[in-house]
């Protein structure tokens, strides 16, 4: 009886999962985009509803209509028109990275537009908060609150609406045809443009509805809660095999019920079960991805409707002349030396600290080069692996008093071991599924393992001392800087050698053609496991360094999964195979928000020191908040990822290639003019690192 009560309590949540999941399937099947930004869309509608209903005190229906039926589909339309329609023939990786960028950017844009204050007690999509006073007979056991009633009612409305849409309208029939069999639909001449546009709007309405409905369950509005929700919806879509809408629906509701039953029955006195309860969706998603049959062989994800246009050819690598490679190397060394000297002598404590953190992060970025750039696997859990390295280091140093440098090595090994264990099942999955599985792992790690004291040391982070190497005490930031630079160079050398060596060649072969690589005897899964493991080790190294840098192994401060997603977006948009991109994006991640911070604080400070400034200047200074810095930085990081589809080799790499080509052309033209007799330009061969 008790169990039944829990189960019924779970139905409303399950309904929300189901709504989101159906929306995901719609856009996935009609445009091939696995829309991670979906959570952001739900969040925007929830905010709009909150503002209209609570701040402006609009009537319920008006607020609901505007937030769910106007704002939400407009966002969907915008995304489809401006972005995703141009991505139809792009690979699944490009689509995923784009939606990852949006996932990062949208909540921050919402913060800028609507203000970043906390929104407590989101209002339900119902007239009163509690329903037991008027709906339920006296003495009844179940108390469903207004939000839950609203959820069930709206879900029923949506289900009926969808059934009518899919059964009896022209557009709906075509949409269903596309969802169930894109090939057939295409053959029978469905106008894919319109269907995809309609699907984006419809699915955005579902996102908006889900966002508004679920908001009252949380104490305050927060994009991360909605992201958790998205993961649950992802689990439901995987349950439905990414194509069956009814099965997806059932999956969502089952998950909601299961979650409620577990919440009611698991003991509340253990850290493990407390972590397990909210993370059920992550666990379910992870297990479904690994064990649901039929997912591994799905290779038609790329563009169900655009099968006629071939994907754009990969960028042609132009072999660079040797002299370019050499001078680029010399130039790089000179620039780095100058930068090092400037940091040593000219930077104050604050900027020096940031530069060090940036360099430390570039080590973790290099782990992404190995797994994403070389391995072609969009791993979304490098931050978790870095955290594992940091925790292992801290635990070893604290427990045994071993030198910190030994701890670093232990961190690398432990992270690599965890990476290998994770890699064995995960590398068998295709692109999108691998990304989702690693994301699920990162979320599980955050909510189940991080709270455990044998992992993270519990609520208070373990402190990590700076090592003393010979006569050098690295608690002096300048000595530490040199140490970090040495670590970065060592890592870069390893990565370059792997990239140019047999490992990198095999991985590159696998990236473009699995079957062809197998036909010459390359063992794909093995090569991928190796790449994943090495990347995990490098991430562990980066995490250990970050802990030493900060003085403690703090998950909160250094490694939350969302930060990890930003790293991926940054590196991939800068250039997933390039060492420069890794170093620059690491530095950028720390220095750019700080610069923006100074920039946005500037007007306020100026007004303070110039009291006789005109009032309009003061009012501008008043609006510009230093708190914008983080948001603006994240938005730009996210938008950077959106450019990935255009420059899959990365913006830095594209820039370098363009300028090198221009330089080569100019020099060759001059040589030709000077020595018309000489045949050919300078010797060719070799690519720059």
């Amino acid at each position: 009886m008790q169990l039944l009560e829990y189960a019924i309590r779970g139905i409303p949540t399950g309904c929300v999962f189901a709504l989101l999941a159906v929306g995901l399937v719609l856009t996935y099947k009609t445009s091939g985009v696995f829309n991670l930004a979906y959570a952001g869309q739900a969040y925007v509608s929830a905010i709009v509803y909150y503002e209209l209903r609570k701040e402006l005190e609009w009537p319920l229906v008006a607020a609901g209509v505007v937030s769910i039926l106007v704002v939400a589909p407009l966002i969907g339309l915008l995304l489809e028109r401006v972005l995703f329609r141009y991505l139809r023939s792009a690979g699944s990786m490009a689509k995923l990275v784009t939606s990852l960028g949006l996932l990062i950017a949208i909540p921050e844009i919402a913060k800028l537009v609507f203000g970043s204050e906390t929104r407590k007690n989101p209002p339900p999509l119902w007239w009163v908060r509690r329903t037991d006073e008027w709906l339920w007979p006296e003495g009844a056991t179940f108390v469903l609150d207004a939000g839950q009633v609203a959820t069930i009612v709206s879900t029923l409305v949506v289900v009926v609406g969808l059934v009518i849409l899919f059964r009896s309208t022209n557009l709906g029939l075509r949409m269903r045809a596309v969802v169930e069999s894109p090939r057939l639909a295409e053959l029978s001449g469905v106008d894919s443009e319109r269907v995809s546009m309609a699907a984006w709007m419809l699915s955005s309405v579902l996102a908006g509805l889900a966002g508004v409905l679920i908001a009252p369950l949380f104490a305050s509005l927060n994009p991360f809660d909605l992201f958790t929700l998205l993961v649950a919806a992802l689990a439901a879509t995987v349950f439905g095999g990414l194509s069956s809408i009814p099965l997806t629906f059932v999956g969502g509701i089952l998950l909601g019920v299961l979650q409620a039953v577990l919440a009611g029955t698991l003991p509340t006195d253990s850290v493990l079960t407390n972590g397990l309860r909210p993370s059920l969706p992550f666990v379910v998603l992870f297990l479904l991805l690994l064990f649901r049959p039929g997912l591994r062989s799905t290779r038609e994800l790329v563009d169900p409707l655009a099968t006629v246009d071939a994907p754009p050819p990969p960028p042609v690598v132009r072999a660079r002349p040797q002299w370019v490679a050499t001078s680029a190397r010399v130039f790089g060394v000179v620039v780095s030396l100058v930068a090092l000297l400037v940091s040593w002598f000219a930077l104050d404590q604050y900027w020096l600290g940031l530069a060090i953190s940036g360099l430390v992060l570039s080590v973790t970025m290099m782990s992404l080069i190995v797994v994403v750039g070389m391995g072609g696997m969009l791993s979304l859990c490098q931050a978790a692996l870095a955290a594992i390295g940091a925790f292992a280091l801290a635990q070893v140093v604290e427990a045994s008093g071993a030198p910190v440098v030994v701890g670093l090595v232990v961190g690398i090994l432990v992270a690599a071991a965890v990476g290998a264990l994770l890699a064995v099942p995960v590398v068998r999955l295709d692109g999108v599924y691998l990304a989702l599985a690693t994301l699920a792992f990162a979320l599980m790690f955050q909510s189940i393992f991080v709270p455990l004291s044998w992992v993270s040391g519990g609520a208070v982070p373990i402190s990590v001392p700076r090592p003393v190497i010979g006569p050098l005490d690295l608690s002096d930031d300048r000595y530490f800087l040199v140490f970090v630079v040495v670590c970065v160079i060592a890592t870069a050398l390893v990565v370059i050698r792997l990239r140019e060596g047999t490992t990198g060649r095999f991985l590159q072969a696998l990236q473009t053609s699995d079957v062809a690589a197998a036909s010459i005897g390359i063992d794909g899964p093995r090569a991928r496991v190796v790449a994943f493991t090495i990347a995990a080790g490098i991430a562990g190294f980066g995490g250990g360094l970050a802990a030493i840098d900060l003085g403690q192994a703090s998950y909160e401060a250094s490694f939350p999964y969302i930060i990890g997603l930003v790293w991926v977006a940054l590196l991939v948009s800068a250039g997933a195979r390039s060492i420069q991109a890794a170093v620059l994006s690491g530095l950028f991640f720390f220095l750019f928000p700080a610069l923006l911070d100074k920039l946005f604080a500037f007007p306020g400070n100026w007004v303070e020191t110039n009291p006789d400034a005109p009032s309009w200047v003061a009012s501008i200074a008043d609006t510009i908040q230093p708190t914008w810095a983080q948001s603006v930085a994240f938005i730009l990081f996210g938008i950077g990822a959106i450019t990935y589809a255009k420059h899959p080799e990365g913006s830095i790499e594209a820039q370098t290639t363009a300028s090198v080509n221009a330089l080569v052309r100019r020099v060759e033209a001059r040589n030709a003019a000077r020595e018309p007799a000489r045949v050919g330009g300078p010797g060719t061969g070799g690519t720059t690192p």
């Binding site: 690598v317 490992t503 072969a509 473009t512 053609s513 197998a518 005897g521 190796v530």
Partner: protein
């Protein structure tokens, strides 16, 4: 026929609704030049996929070089001495022609590996480059060695696939329509190259080809597939004059 290099018995493969292969048995002897012909959709490529391990047949056994290979993955079969080209060309992105051959050579010799990469950088050795140069020369690809594979014509791309397969030093070479997309001259060159490969290097070849004159010139034995079934197999001239084959494949005309 237990001395066959490759021997398939009763290979059956169904796709949802379609029987792509129905109990196909086939042998290829060491050093022999054999061909498979048949109309479009007859199941020729599917047969290759089943033999090289890309597809799992629903029924049937395959033995290669004296041992069953049914449980081996494509990569393991490749290492056992099967190499192939693809009907829809499959080259590696971002690599030059020479890179393609070096990768294939590395996959065969297993040179390099994590530690070797990190310690030595695993640059191409002179022996490796020599081996690749021999194959490039055999196929007339020397001047294309430094060209990115993406910039090649379809014909040259097919040659690169063939070169990549040859670097694996296979015992048996599977070629899926190597002449499609090639002009007359290129086809002739390809034919000569294949003949040299078989005669001078003793590599057995199993060829899928629509160009009947080419098959007639090259193949010693042919097998004919129609709707997934083997309708004839034997010495080339004998099979080509068989009435059943003419009806199925040549449309009954002369």
């Amino acid at each position: 026929m237990s001395d066959a290099l490759l021997s398939a018995t009763g290979v059956t493969k169904r796709y949802a609704g379609i029987v792509a292969l129905q109990g196909v048995s086939l042998q290829v002897h060491a050093g022999e030049f054999a061909a498979v012909i048949g109309p479009n959709g007859a199941g020729k490529s599917t047969l290759f996929d089943c033999l090289t391990g890309v597809q799992r047949p629903d029924r049937g056994q395959v033995t290669f070089d004296g041992r069953p290979v049914d449980s081996l993955k494509p990569a393991a079969r490749a290492r056992a001495g099967m190499a192939r080209t693809f009907q829809r060309i499959e080259l590696f992105g971002g690599m030059t022609v020479l890179d393609h051959l070096i990768v294939a050579d590395r996959a065969r010799t297993r040179r390099g590996g994590l530690l070797a990469d990190v310690l030595t950088g695993s640059h191409p050795s002179s022996e490796e480059l020599d081996r690749c140069a021999t194959v490039l020369e055999l196929l007339g690809l020397e001047e294309w060695a430094e060209r990115p594979a993406e910039s090649l014509s379809l014909g040259k791309g097919r040659l690169v696939e063939l070169a990549r397969a040859l670097v694996c030093e296979p015992k048996l070479l599977f070629l899926d329509e190597p002449s499609s997309g090639l002009d007359r001259h290129e086809t002739d060159e390809m034919g000569h190259a294949l003949q040299r490969v078989q005669r001078e290097h003793g590599i057995a070849i199993l060829l899928i080809e629509h160009d009947v004159p080419l098959v007639q010139r090259l193949a010693e034995r042919i097998s004919v597939l129609d709707y997934g079934e083997l309708i004839a197999s034997g010495p080339t001239e004998e099979v080509l004059s068989n009435q059943k084959v003419r009806v199925a494949y040549l449309g009954g005309s002369t």
